[in-house]
Protein backbone atom coordinates (compact mmCIF):
# COMPACT_ATOMS: atom_id res chain seq x y z
CA UNK A 1 0.00 0.00 0.00
CA UNK A 2 1.27 3.47 -0.81
CA UNK A 3 1.12 5.17 2.53
CA UNK A 4 1.87 8.85 2.99
CA UNK A 5 4.95 7.75 4.87
CA UNK A 6 6.33 5.94 1.88
CA UNK A 7 5.54 8.85 -0.42
CA UNK A 8 7.28 11.29 1.87
CA UNK A 9 10.22 8.91 2.14
CA UNK A 10 10.45 8.79 -1.62
CA UNK A 11 10.30 12.55 -2.00
CA UNK A 12 13.05 12.91 0.58
CA UNK A 13 15.21 10.36 -1.26
CA UNK A 14 14.54 12.27 -4.45
CA UNK A 15 15.55 15.60 -2.97
CA UNK A 16 18.76 14.12 -1.58
CA UNK A 17 19.75 12.66 -4.94
CA UNK A 18 18.54 15.83 -6.61
CA UNK A 19 21.02 17.95 -4.66
CA UNK A 20 23.81 15.95 -6.18
CA UNK A 21 22.33 16.29 -9.67
CA UNK A 22 21.99 19.97 -8.92
CA UNK A 23 25.64 20.55 -8.11
CA UNK A 24 26.72 18.67 -11.22
CA UNK A 25 24.31 20.75 -13.29
CA UNK A 26 25.58 23.98 -11.78
CA UNK A 27 29.09 23.13 -12.88
CA UNK A 28 27.86 22.54 -16.39
CA UNK A 29 25.85 25.73 -16.42
CA UNK A 30 28.81 27.78 -15.29
CA UNK A 31 30.92 26.52 -18.13
CA UNK A 32 28.19 27.15 -20.60
CA UNK A 33 27.42 30.54 -19.20
CA UNK A 34 30.98 31.64 -19.73
CA UNK A 35 31.66 30.58 -23.25
CA UNK A 36 28.54 28.96 -24.64
CA UNK A 37 30.16 25.57 -24.91
CA UNK A 38 28.26 22.53 -23.64
CA UNK A 39 30.73 20.21 -21.99
CA UNK A 40 29.66 16.75 -23.12
CA UNK A 41 32.49 15.28 -21.10
CA UNK A 42 30.99 16.56 -17.86
CA UNK A 43 29.63 13.19 -16.73
CA UNK A 44 32.90 11.48 -17.49
CA UNK A 45 34.82 14.01 -15.45
CA UNK A 46 32.47 13.19 -12.57
CA UNK A 47 33.52 9.57 -13.04
CA UNK A 48 37.15 10.66 -12.73
CA UNK A 49 36.36 12.34 -9.44
CA UNK A 50 34.73 9.17 -8.15
CA UNK A 51 37.70 7.07 -9.19
CA UNK A 52 40.09 9.53 -7.56
CA UNK A 53 38.23 8.98 -4.34
CA UNK A 54 38.25 5.23 -4.86
CA UNK A 55 41.97 4.97 -5.54
CA UNK A 56 42.77 7.28 -2.63
CA UNK A 57 40.85 4.85 -0.44
CA UNK A 58 42.20 1.64 -1.94
CA UNK A 59 45.83 2.62 -2.29
CA UNK A 60 46.28 5.03 0.60
CA UNK A 61 43.40 4.23 2.91
CA UNK A 62 42.02 7.77 2.78
CA UNK A 63 38.31 7.92 3.44
CA UNK A 64 36.23 9.65 0.76
CA UNK A 65 35.14 12.31 3.21
CA UNK A 66 38.77 13.20 3.77
CA UNK A 67 39.78 12.98 0.14
CA UNK A 68 37.16 15.59 -0.74
CA UNK A 69 39.72 18.41 -0.86
CA UNK A 70 41.94 16.22 -3.01
CA UNK A 71 39.16 15.54 -5.49
CA UNK A 72 38.19 19.17 -5.54
CA UNK A 73 41.74 20.34 -6.22
CA UNK A 74 42.45 17.64 -8.79
CA UNK A 75 39.29 18.24 -10.77
CA UNK A 76 39.85 21.98 -10.62
CA UNK A 77 43.28 21.47 -12.11
CA UNK A 78 41.98 19.09 -14.74
CA UNK A 79 39.30 21.59 -15.70
CA UNK A 80 41.83 24.39 -15.91
CA UNK A 81 44.14 22.40 -18.16
CA UNK A 82 41.28 21.13 -20.27
CA UNK A 83 40.51 24.70 -21.09
CA UNK A 84 44.01 25.64 -22.12
CA UNK A 85 44.79 22.45 -24.02
CA UNK A 86 41.53 21.82 -25.78
CA UNK A 87 38.73 24.29 -25.28
CA UNK A 88 40.65 27.44 -26.08
CA UNK A 89 40.96 26.24 -29.65
CA UNK A 90 37.22 25.77 -29.92
CA UNK A 91 36.11 29.25 -29.03
CA UNK A 92 35.53 30.25 -32.59
CA UNK A 93 34.66 26.83 -33.96
CA UNK A 94 31.33 25.76 -35.37
CA UNK A 95 28.62 24.46 -33.10
CA UNK A 96 29.07 20.94 -34.47
CA UNK A 97 32.78 21.04 -33.84
CA UNK A 98 32.25 22.12 -30.23
CA UNK A 99 29.76 19.37 -29.55
CA UNK A 100 31.91 16.74 -31.16
CA UNK A 101 35.11 17.86 -29.50
CA UNK A 102 33.78 17.68 -25.96
CA UNK A 103 31.92 14.54 -26.85
CA UNK A 104 35.10 13.01 -28.14
CA UNK A 105 36.84 14.04 -24.96
CA UNK A 106 34.18 12.30 -22.91
CA UNK A 107 34.39 9.10 -24.93
CA UNK A 108 38.17 9.19 -24.76
CA UNK A 109 38.24 9.59 -20.99
CA UNK A 110 35.55 7.01 -20.42
CA UNK A 111 37.12 4.22 -22.41
CA UNK A 112 40.62 5.03 -21.28
CA UNK A 113 39.30 4.50 -17.76
CA UNK A 114 37.73 1.25 -18.86
CA UNK A 115 40.96 0.10 -20.40
CA UNK A 116 43.06 1.00 -17.39
CA UNK A 117 40.67 0.00 -14.63
CA UNK A 118 38.36 -2.58 -16.29
CA UNK A 119 34.57 -2.27 -16.40
CA UNK A 120 34.22 -3.86 -12.94
CA UNK A 121 31.91 -2.19 -10.46
CA UNK A 122 33.86 -0.89 -7.47
CA UNK A 123 32.71 0.17 -4.05
CA UNK A 124 34.26 1.74 -1.02
CA UNK A 125 33.85 -1.08 1.44
CA UNK A 126 33.88 0.74 4.73
CA UNK A 127 33.43 4.46 4.45
CA UNK A 128 33.29 6.65 7.54
CA UNK A 129 29.84 7.72 6.47
CA UNK A 130 27.73 4.62 6.75
CA UNK A 131 24.42 3.45 8.07
CA UNK A 132 21.15 5.25 8.15
CA UNK A 133 19.27 7.78 10.21
CA UNK A 134 15.65 7.24 11.07
CA UNK A 135 13.46 10.23 11.78
CA UNK A 136 9.91 9.25 12.58
CA UNK A 137 9.63 6.37 10.17
CA UNK A 138 11.60 8.08 7.42
CA UNK A 139 14.94 6.41 6.85
CA UNK A 140 17.71 8.22 5.02
CA UNK A 141 21.11 6.82 4.31
CA UNK A 142 23.74 8.78 6.21
CA UNK A 143 26.07 9.11 3.20
CA UNK A 144 23.24 10.41 1.03
CA UNK A 145 22.20 12.94 3.65
CA UNK A 146 25.71 14.27 4.19
CA UNK A 147 26.35 14.31 0.45
CA UNK A 148 23.35 16.47 -0.26
CA UNK A 149 24.16 18.85 2.59
CA UNK A 150 27.67 19.31 1.28
CA UNK A 151 26.36 19.87 -2.24
CA UNK A 152 24.05 22.59 -1.01
CA UNK A 153 26.87 24.20 0.95
CA UNK A 154 29.07 24.07 -2.14
CA UNK A 155 26.37 25.73 -4.18
CA UNK A 156 25.90 28.51 -1.66
CA UNK A 157 29.63 29.04 -1.56
CA UNK A 158 29.71 29.20 -5.34
CA UNK A 159 26.84 31.65 -5.48
CA UNK A 160 28.57 33.96 -3.03
CA UNK A 161 31.78 33.64 -5.02
CA UNK A 162 30.12 34.57 -8.29
CA UNK A 163 27.89 37.34 -7.06
CA UNK A 164 29.66 38.93 -4.15
CA UNK A 165 33.37 38.81 -4.85
CA UNK A 166 35.58 40.69 -7.27
CA UNK A 167 36.70 37.49 -8.88
CA UNK A 168 33.09 36.58 -9.43
CA UNK A 169 32.40 39.92 -11.02
CA UNK A 170 35.34 39.52 -13.29
CA UNK A 171 34.09 36.14 -14.45
CA UNK A 172 30.60 37.42 -14.99
CA UNK A 173 31.86 40.45 -16.85
CA UNK A 174 33.87 38.24 -19.17
CA UNK A 175 30.86 36.12 -19.91
CA UNK A 176 28.72 39.16 -20.71
CA UNK A 177 31.15 40.91 -22.93
CA UNK A 178 34.60 39.57 -23.52
CA UNK A 179 36.02 42.51 -25.33
CA UNK A 180 34.83 45.08 -22.87
CA UNK A 181 36.19 42.97 -20.05
CA UNK A 182 39.60 42.66 -21.64
CA UNK A 183 39.67 46.37 -22.22
CA UNK A 184 39.35 46.65 -18.47
CA UNK A 185 42.41 44.50 -18.05
CA UNK A 186 40.73 41.19 -17.35
CA UNK A 187 42.47 38.28 -19.06
CA UNK A 188 39.54 36.48 -20.61
CA UNK A 189 41.46 33.25 -21.09
CA UNK A 190 42.30 33.12 -17.43
CA UNK A 191 38.68 33.75 -16.57
CA UNK A 192 37.51 30.99 -18.86
CA UNK A 193 40.06 28.61 -17.43
CA UNK A 194 38.90 29.57 -13.97
CA UNK A 195 35.33 28.91 -15.00
CA UNK A 196 36.30 25.47 -16.22
CA UNK A 197 38.21 24.88 -13.02
CA UNK A 198 35.29 25.83 -10.84
CA UNK A 199 32.81 23.94 -12.99
CA UNK A 200 34.89 20.80 -12.71
CA UNK A 201 35.56 21.50 -9.06
CA UNK A 202 31.84 21.01 -8.50
CA UNK A 203 32.31 17.57 -9.98
CA UNK A 204 35.14 16.92 -7.57
CA UNK A 205 32.86 17.60 -4.62
CA UNK A 206 29.90 15.67 -6.01
CA UNK A 207 32.08 12.74 -7.04
CA UNK A 208 33.87 12.43 -3.72
CA UNK A 209 30.54 12.40 -1.91
CA UNK A 210 28.96 9.90 -4.27
CA UNK A 211 31.89 7.54 -3.84
CA UNK A 212 30.54 6.87 -0.36
CA UNK A 213 27.47 5.06 -1.57
CA UNK A 214 27.46 4.67 -5.33
CA UNK A 215 28.97 2.04 -7.58
CA UNK A 216 32.10 3.32 -9.29
CA UNK A 217 32.81 2.17 -12.84
CA UNK A 218 33.91 3.81 -16.10
CA UNK A 219 30.46 4.32 -17.56
CA UNK A 220 28.86 5.65 -14.38
CA UNK A 221 29.28 9.28 -15.40
CA UNK A 222 27.39 8.97 -18.65
CA UNK A 223 23.95 9.00 -17.08
CA UNK A 224 24.79 11.83 -14.71
CA UNK A 225 26.09 13.89 -17.59
CA UNK A 226 22.83 13.39 -19.49
CA UNK A 227 20.79 14.38 -16.47
CA UNK A 228 22.95 17.45 -15.99
CA UNK A 229 22.30 18.68 -19.56
CA UNK A 230 18.60 18.15 -19.09
CA UNK A 231 18.77 20.04 -15.78
CA UNK A 232 20.63 22.98 -17.29
CA UNK A 233 18.27 23.17 -20.24
CA UNK A 234 15.29 22.75 -17.95
CA UNK A 235 16.48 25.49 -15.66
CA UNK A 236 17.39 27.55 -18.66
CA UNK A 237 20.82 28.15 -20.07
CA UNK A 238 22.47 31.00 -18.29
CA UNK A 239 20.70 30.66 -14.96
CA UNK A 240 22.82 29.02 -12.30
CA UNK A 241 20.13 28.96 -9.60
CA UNK A 242 17.80 27.65 -12.29
CA UNK A 243 20.12 24.69 -12.87
CA UNK A 244 20.26 23.95 -9.18
CA UNK A 245 16.51 24.00 -8.80
CA UNK A 246 16.07 21.92 -11.94
CA UNK A 247 18.46 19.31 -10.55
CA UNK A 248 16.34 18.91 -7.47
CA UNK A 249 13.14 18.79 -9.50
CA UNK A 250 14.61 16.04 -11.62
CA UNK A 251 15.58 14.03 -8.55
CA UNK A 252 12.08 14.22 -7.16
CA UNK A 253 10.45 13.42 -10.52
CA UNK A 254 12.72 10.44 -10.97
CA UNK A 255 12.02 8.88 -7.59
CA UNK A 256 8.33 9.71 -7.46
CA UNK A 257 7.60 8.39 -10.93
CA UNK A 258 9.62 5.33 -9.99
CA UNK A 259 7.38 4.71 -7.02
CA UNK A 260 4.00 5.69 -8.38
CA UNK A 261 4.22 4.58 -11.97
CA UNK A 262 7.03 2.10 -12.41
CA UNK A 263 10.72 2.13 -11.57
CA UNK A 264 11.51 1.04 -15.10
CA UNK A 265 10.26 4.32 -16.53
CA UNK A 266 11.83 6.77 -14.16
CA UNK A 267 14.35 8.17 -16.64
CA UNK A 268 11.81 8.38 -19.41
CA UNK A 269 9.85 10.72 -17.17
CA UNK A 270 12.83 12.92 -16.57
CA UNK A 271 13.32 13.36 -20.30
CA UNK A 272 9.63 13.83 -20.85
CA UNK A 273 9.54 16.68 -18.34
CA UNK A 274 12.39 18.31 -20.24
CA UNK A 275 10.55 18.04 -23.54
CA UNK A 276 7.34 19.40 -22.07
CA UNK A 277 9.03 22.39 -20.46
CA UNK A 278 11.09 23.18 -23.50
CA UNK A 279 8.15 23.02 -25.88
CA UNK A 280 6.19 25.45 -23.77
CA UNK A 281 9.09 27.63 -22.77
CA UNK A 282 11.77 27.18 -25.46
CA UNK A 283 14.35 28.70 -23.19
CA UNK A 284 13.75 26.66 -20.11
CA UNK A 285 12.32 27.84 -16.81
CA UNK A 286 14.57 30.80 -16.20
CA UNK A 287 16.72 30.88 -19.32
CA UNK A 288 18.03 34.06 -20.78
CA UNK A 289 19.29 32.75 -24.11
Amino acid sequence: MLTTEIIIQTIVSGILMGCIYALVAVGLCLIWGLMEIVNFAHGDYLMMAMFTSFWAYTLAGIDPLLSLPLCLALLFAIGWFTYYIIIKKLLRATFLAQILATFGLGVFVRYLAQYMWSPDFRTIKEPLLAGNIGIGGIFVGTPQLVASIICVVAFVFLYVLMNKTELGFAILATSEDREAASLMGIDSHKMFALGWGVGCGCLGVAGAMMANFFYIFPEVGFNFGLIAYVAVALGGFGSVPGSFLAGIIIGVVEFLSGLIIAPAFKYAFVFLIYLLVVFIKPMGLFGRY
Binding site: I99, A101, V107, F265, A268, F271, L272, G284
Partner: protein
Protein backbone atom coordinates in the same frame (compact mmCIF):
# COMPACT_ATOMS: atom_id res chain seq x y z
CA UNK B 1 31.64 15.98 -62.46
CA UNK B 2 34.91 15.95 -64.28
CA UNK B 3 35.68 13.01 -66.56
CA UNK B 4 38.71 11.99 -64.52
CA UNK B 5 36.53 11.53 -61.41
CA UNK B 6 34.04 9.37 -63.29
CA UNK B 7 36.81 7.04 -64.39
CA UNK B 8 38.09 6.63 -60.85
CA UNK B 9 34.59 5.97 -59.60
CA UNK B 10 33.95 3.26 -62.16
CA UNK B 11 37.25 1.58 -61.38
CA UNK B 12 36.41 1.77 -57.70
CA UNK B 13 32.97 0.26 -58.27
CA UNK B 14 34.43 -2.63 -60.26
CA UNK B 15 37.00 -3.35 -57.57
CA UNK B 16 34.33 -3.32 -54.91
CA UNK B 17 32.14 -5.67 -56.93
CA UNK B 18 35.00 -8.09 -57.45
CA UNK B 19 36.14 -7.93 -53.83
CA UNK B 20 34.24 -11.01 -52.59
CA UNK B 21 35.71 -13.07 -55.39
CA UNK B 22 39.21 -12.53 -54.07
CA UNK B 23 38.48 -12.31 -50.38
CA UNK B 24 36.53 -15.37 -49.42
CA UNK B 25 37.07 -15.40 -45.66
CA UNK B 26 34.20 -14.06 -43.58
CA UNK B 27 36.11 -11.30 -41.79
CA UNK B 28 37.11 -9.07 -44.75
CA UNK B 29 33.60 -9.32 -46.12
CA UNK B 30 32.16 -8.46 -42.73
CA UNK B 31 34.43 -5.45 -42.58
CA UNK B 32 33.23 -4.14 -45.93
CA UNK B 33 29.61 -4.79 -45.03
CA UNK B 34 30.02 -2.72 -41.87
CA UNK B 35 31.71 0.05 -43.85
CA UNK B 36 28.84 0.13 -46.35
CA UNK B 37 26.29 0.16 -43.56
CA UNK B 38 27.86 2.97 -41.58
CA UNK B 39 28.65 4.92 -44.73
CA UNK B 40 24.96 4.80 -45.64
CA UNK B 41 23.91 5.93 -42.20
CA UNK B 42 26.52 8.66 -42.29
CA UNK B 43 25.15 9.78 -45.63
CA UNK B 44 21.67 9.77 -44.17
CA UNK B 45 22.73 11.86 -41.19
CA UNK B 46 24.58 14.14 -43.53
CA UNK B 47 21.34 15.15 -45.23
CA UNK B 48 19.90 16.72 -42.10
CA UNK B 49 23.05 17.43 -40.15
CA UNK B 50 25.48 18.30 -42.89
CA UNK B 51 23.35 19.92 -45.55
CA UNK B 52 20.53 21.37 -43.50
CA UNK B 53 22.69 22.01 -40.48
CA UNK B 54 20.34 20.58 -37.86
CA UNK B 55 22.47 18.60 -35.43
CA UNK B 56 20.51 15.51 -34.54
CA UNK B 57 21.91 13.30 -31.79
CA UNK B 58 19.00 10.90 -31.76
CA UNK B 59 19.23 9.22 -35.15
CA UNK B 60 19.46 5.78 -33.61
CA UNK B 61 15.70 5.92 -33.16
CA UNK B 62 15.29 5.46 -36.90
CA UNK B 63 17.81 2.62 -37.03
CA UNK B 64 16.01 0.87 -34.22
CA UNK B 65 12.59 1.46 -35.76
CA UNK B 66 13.74 -0.11 -39.02
CA UNK B 67 15.27 -3.09 -37.26
CA UNK B 68 12.28 -3.75 -35.03
CA UNK B 69 9.59 -3.13 -37.66
CA UNK B 70 10.91 -5.60 -40.17
CA UNK B 71 11.72 -8.12 -37.45
CA UNK B 72 8.34 -7.92 -35.73
CA UNK B 73 6.54 -8.16 -39.07
CA UNK B 74 8.55 -11.26 -39.81
CA UNK B 75 8.12 -12.91 -36.43
CA UNK B 76 4.48 -12.06 -35.78
CA UNK B 77 3.04 -11.96 -39.29
CA UNK B 78 5.49 -13.98 -41.34
CA UNK B 79 5.97 -11.13 -43.81
CA UNK B 80 9.16 -10.97 -45.84
CA UNK B 81 11.75 -8.57 -44.42
CA UNK B 82 11.94 -6.70 -47.73
CA UNK B 83 8.42 -5.49 -47.26
CA UNK B 84 9.13 -4.98 -43.60
CA UNK B 85 12.07 -2.80 -44.55
CA UNK B 86 9.83 -0.59 -46.63
CA UNK B 87 7.20 -0.35 -43.93
CA UNK B 88 9.90 0.43 -41.39
CA UNK B 89 11.19 3.20 -43.60
CA UNK B 90 7.76 4.74 -43.91
CA UNK B 91 7.17 4.41 -40.19
CA UNK B 92 10.47 6.16 -39.56
CA UNK B 93 9.45 8.97 -41.83
CA UNK B 94 6.29 9.28 -39.80
CA UNK B 95 8.32 9.44 -36.61
CA UNK B 96 10.49 12.09 -38.24
CA UNK B 97 7.44 14.25 -38.82
CA UNK B 98 6.24 13.75 -35.27
CA UNK B 99 9.64 14.66 -33.88
CA UNK B 100 10.20 17.53 -36.24
CA UNK B 101 6.98 19.32 -35.56
CA UNK B 102 7.78 20.42 -32.03
CA UNK B 103 11.56 20.17 -32.20
CA UNK B 104 12.26 22.35 -35.20
CA UNK B 105 11.06 25.29 -33.19
CA UNK B 106 14.07 24.81 -30.96
CA UNK B 107 17.44 26.24 -31.66
CA UNK B 108 20.99 24.99 -31.37
CA UNK B 109 21.72 23.26 -28.06
CA UNK B 110 18.08 22.93 -27.10
CA UNK B 111 17.40 21.05 -30.34
CA UNK B 112 20.36 18.74 -29.90
CA UNK B 113 19.40 17.90 -26.34
CA UNK B 114 15.78 17.42 -27.39
CA UNK B 115 16.92 14.83 -29.91
CA UNK B 116 18.92 13.12 -27.19
CA UNK B 117 15.88 13.18 -24.89
CA UNK B 118 13.65 11.63 -27.53
CA UNK B 119 16.23 8.97 -28.28
CA UNK B 120 16.54 8.04 -24.61
CA UNK B 121 12.77 7.92 -24.13
CA UNK B 122 12.56 5.58 -27.11
CA UNK B 123 15.23 3.40 -25.53
CA UNK B 124 13.35 3.18 -22.22
CA UNK B 125 10.11 2.34 -24.02
CA UNK B 126 11.73 -0.43 -26.00
CA UNK B 127 13.40 -1.85 -22.91
CA UNK B 128 10.00 -2.20 -21.29
CA UNK B 129 7.82 -3.19 -24.22
CA UNK B 130 7.20 -6.88 -23.66
CA UNK B 131 5.42 -7.53 -26.94
CA UNK B 132 8.50 -6.27 -28.77
CA UNK B 133 10.90 -8.33 -26.72
CA UNK B 134 11.77 -5.69 -24.10
CA UNK B 135 15.30 -5.84 -22.73
CA UNK B 136 15.68 -9.46 -23.72
CA UNK B 137 15.58 -8.55 -27.38
CA UNK B 138 14.43 -10.54 -30.36
CA UNK B 139 16.25 -13.50 -31.83
CA UNK B 140 15.17 -13.94 -35.42
CA UNK B 141 14.18 -17.43 -36.49
CA UNK B 142 16.80 -19.25 -38.52
CA UNK B 143 15.07 -19.70 -41.85
CA UNK B 144 16.11 -21.38 -45.01
CA UNK B 145 18.68 -19.40 -46.95
CA UNK B 146 17.43 -17.28 -49.74
CA UNK B 147 16.76 -13.85 -51.10
CA UNK B 148 13.08 -13.91 -50.16
CA UNK B 149 13.86 -14.79 -46.56
CA UNK B 150 16.72 -12.32 -46.56
CA UNK B 151 18.89 -14.77 -44.64
CA UNK B 152 22.13 -16.36 -45.77
CA UNK B 153 24.07 -18.70 -43.58
CA UNK B 154 26.83 -20.34 -45.54
CA UNK B 155 28.28 -17.23 -47.13
CA UNK B 156 28.30 -13.49 -46.56
CA UNK B 157 28.52 -12.59 -50.24
CA UNK B 158 24.81 -11.83 -50.77
CA UNK B 159 24.83 -9.57 -47.70
CA UNK B 160 27.85 -7.83 -49.16
CA UNK B 161 26.15 -6.99 -52.43
CA UNK B 162 22.92 -5.92 -50.80
CA UNK B 163 24.77 -3.60 -48.43
CA UNK B 164 26.76 -2.17 -51.31
CA UNK B 165 23.54 -1.64 -53.23
CA UNK B 166 22.03 0.22 -50.30
CA UNK B 167 25.06 2.47 -50.06
CA UNK B 168 25.00 3.21 -53.78
CA UNK B 169 21.33 4.13 -53.45
CA UNK B 170 22.16 6.49 -50.62
CA UNK B 171 24.93 8.02 -52.69
CA UNK B 172 22.55 8.65 -55.55
CA UNK B 173 20.06 10.27 -53.21
CA UNK B 174 22.76 12.49 -51.77
CA UNK B 175 24.03 13.39 -55.21
CA UNK B 176 20.52 14.20 -56.30
CA UNK B 177 19.93 16.38 -53.28
CA UNK B 178 23.28 18.10 -53.63
CA UNK B 179 22.58 19.18 -57.20
CA UNK B 180 18.94 20.03 -56.80
CA UNK B 181 16.88 22.88 -55.53
CA UNK B 182 16.20 20.84 -52.41
CA UNK B 183 19.87 20.82 -51.62
CA UNK B 184 20.14 24.49 -52.32
CA UNK B 185 17.40 25.20 -49.80
CA UNK B 186 19.03 22.91 -47.23
CA UNK B 187 22.30 24.77 -47.53
CA UNK B 188 20.48 28.06 -47.27
CA UNK B 189 18.86 26.96 -44.04
CA UNK B 190 22.19 25.88 -42.65
CA UNK B 191 23.97 29.02 -43.68
CA UNK B 192 21.51 31.58 -42.50
CA UNK B 193 18.14 30.55 -41.17
CA UNK B 194 16.69 34.02 -40.87
CA UNK B 195 17.99 35.02 -44.25
CA UNK B 196 16.47 31.96 -45.85
CA UNK B 197 13.16 32.66 -44.24
CA UNK B 198 13.21 36.24 -45.39
CA UNK B 199 13.72 34.98 -48.93
CA UNK B 200 10.40 33.19 -48.60
CA UNK B 201 11.74 29.66 -48.10
CA UNK B 202 9.43 27.63 -45.90
CA UNK B 203 12.23 26.51 -43.61
CA UNK B 204 10.08 24.16 -41.54
CA UNK B 205 8.94 22.24 -44.58
CA UNK B 206 12.45 21.77 -45.91
CA UNK B 207 13.78 20.74 -42.54
CA UNK B 208 11.06 18.08 -42.58
CA UNK B 209 12.09 16.84 -45.99
CA UNK B 210 15.68 16.54 -44.89
CA UNK B 211 14.79 14.69 -41.72
CA UNK B 212 12.31 12.40 -43.44
CA UNK B 213 14.77 11.38 -46.15
CA UNK B 214 17.41 10.88 -43.52
CA UNK B 215 15.07 8.77 -41.41
CA UNK B 216 14.11 6.54 -44.33
CA UNK B 217 17.69 5.72 -45.24
CA UNK B 218 18.74 5.09 -41.65
CA UNK B 219 15.75 2.85 -41.13
CA UNK B 220 16.67 0.66 -44.09
CA UNK B 221 20.06 0.09 -42.53
CA UNK B 222 18.36 -1.02 -39.34
CA UNK B 223 16.35 -3.65 -41.17
CA UNK B 224 19.45 -4.86 -42.95
CA UNK B 225 21.30 -5.12 -39.67
CA UNK B 226 18.52 -7.24 -38.15
CA UNK B 227 18.67 -9.68 -41.04
CA UNK B 228 22.45 -9.79 -40.99
CA UNK B 229 22.98 -10.41 -37.31
CA UNK B 230 19.67 -12.19 -36.54
CA UNK B 231 19.52 -10.66 -33.07
CA UNK B 232 18.37 -7.23 -31.98
CA UNK B 233 17.84 -5.65 -28.60
CA UNK B 234 17.41 -2.07 -27.41
CA UNK B 235 21.08 -1.78 -26.40
CA UNK B 236 22.34 -2.59 -29.88
CA UNK B 237 19.77 -0.65 -31.89
CA UNK B 238 18.75 2.45 -29.92
CA UNK B 239 21.77 3.62 -27.95
CA UNK B 240 23.00 7.19 -27.81
CA UNK B 241 26.50 6.05 -28.70
CA UNK B 242 25.22 4.88 -32.07
CA UNK B 243 23.69 8.28 -32.77
CA UNK B 244 27.00 9.91 -31.95
CA UNK B 245 28.95 7.54 -34.17
CA UNK B 246 26.66 8.31 -37.13
CA UNK B 247 27.27 11.97 -36.60
CA UNK B 248 30.97 11.30 -36.30
CA UNK B 249 31.19 9.26 -39.49
CA UNK B 250 29.79 12.13 -41.49
CA UNK B 251 31.85 14.76 -39.73
CA UNK B 252 35.15 12.91 -39.92
CA UNK B 253 34.87 12.50 -43.64
CA UNK B 254 33.51 15.93 -44.36
CA UNK B 255 30.15 17.30 -43.42
CA UNK B 256 27.95 18.49 -46.26
CA UNK B 257 29.86 16.66 -48.97
CA UNK B 258 28.80 13.67 -51.03
CA UNK B 259 31.69 11.33 -50.35
CA UNK B 260 32.51 12.57 -46.86
CA UNK B 261 30.53 9.96 -44.94
CA UNK B 262 31.92 7.16 -47.07
CA UNK B 263 35.45 8.23 -46.26
CA UNK B 264 34.55 8.65 -42.63
CA UNK B 265 33.20 5.11 -42.46
CA UNK B 266 36.20 3.75 -44.34
CA UNK B 267 38.46 5.14 -41.64
CA UNK B 268 36.44 4.54 -38.50
CA UNK B 269 35.06 1.06 -39.12
CA UNK B 270 38.36 -0.68 -39.77
CA UNK B 271 39.71 0.85 -36.55
CA UNK B 272 36.80 -0.57 -34.64
CA UNK B 273 36.93 -4.00 -36.24
CA UNK B 274 40.69 -4.44 -36.12
CA UNK B 275 40.95 -3.50 -32.48
CA UNK B 276 38.15 -5.88 -31.71
CA UNK B 277 39.85 -8.78 -33.44
CA UNK B 278 43.44 -8.18 -32.53
CA UNK B 279 43.45 -6.47 -29.18
CA UNK B 280 41.75 -9.34 -27.46
CA UNK B 281 38.21 -10.39 -28.07
CA UNK B 282 35.39 -8.78 -26.22
CA UNK B 283 35.58 -5.06 -26.72
CA UNK B 284 37.94 -3.54 -24.21
CA UNK B 285 36.83 -0.34 -25.79
CA UNK B 286 40.22 0.36 -27.32
CA UNK B 287 38.56 1.33 -30.55
CA UNK B 288 36.50 3.85 -28.66
CA UNK B 289 39.61 5.36 -27.08
CA UNK B 290 40.93 5.91 -30.58
CA UNK B 291 37.57 7.22 -31.77
CA UNK B 292 37.38 9.69 -28.95
CA UNK B 293 40.86 10.92 -29.66
CA UNK B 294 40.23 11.19 -33.39
CA UNK B 295 37.00 13.08 -32.88
CA UNK B 296 38.77 15.61 -30.73
CA UNK B 297 41.64 16.11 -33.13
CA UNK B 298 39.43 16.44 -36.18
CA UNK B 299 37.00 18.80 -34.49
CA UNK B 300 39.75 21.05 -33.24
CA UNK B 301 42.07 21.15 -36.19
CA UNK B 302 40.00 20.38 -39.20
CA UNK B 303 36.28 20.51 -38.62
CA UNK B 304 35.74 20.04 -42.31
CA UNK B 305 36.95 16.48 -42.08
CA UNK B 306 39.18 14.50 -44.33
CA UNK B 307 37.77 16.15 -47.40
CA UNK B 308 38.63 19.47 -45.85
CA UNK B 309 42.19 18.29 -45.38
CA UNK B 310 42.34 17.01 -48.94
CA UNK B 311 41.07 20.30 -50.28
CA UNK B 312 43.65 22.20 -48.32
CA UNK B 313 46.41 19.98 -49.64
CA UNK B 314 45.17 20.40 -53.18
CA UNK B 315 45.11 24.16 -52.79
CA UNK B 316 48.68 24.05 -51.61
CA UNK B 317 49.67 21.85 -54.53
CA UNK B 318 48.16 24.15 -57.10
CA UNK B 319 50.21 27.12 -55.98
Amino acid sequence: MKNKNWVWLIIGAILVLLFPVFFTLPFPRHLMIMIFLYATMGLAWNLIGGYAGQISLGHAIFFGTGAYTSTLMLMKLGITPWLGMLVGGLLSMGIAFVIGYPCFKLAGHYFAIATIAIGEIAMVLMINWDWAGSAVGLTLPILEEGLWNFEFHTTKAPYYYIAFGIMVFALFVTYGVDRSKLGFYFKAIKGDLEGARSLGINTHRYKFYALALSAFLTSICGSFYAQYVLFIDPDSTFPLLLSIILCLVATLGGVGTILGPVIGAAILIPISEFTRIYLGGGGKGTDLILYGFLIMIISIYQPFGVIGIAKRLRKRESR
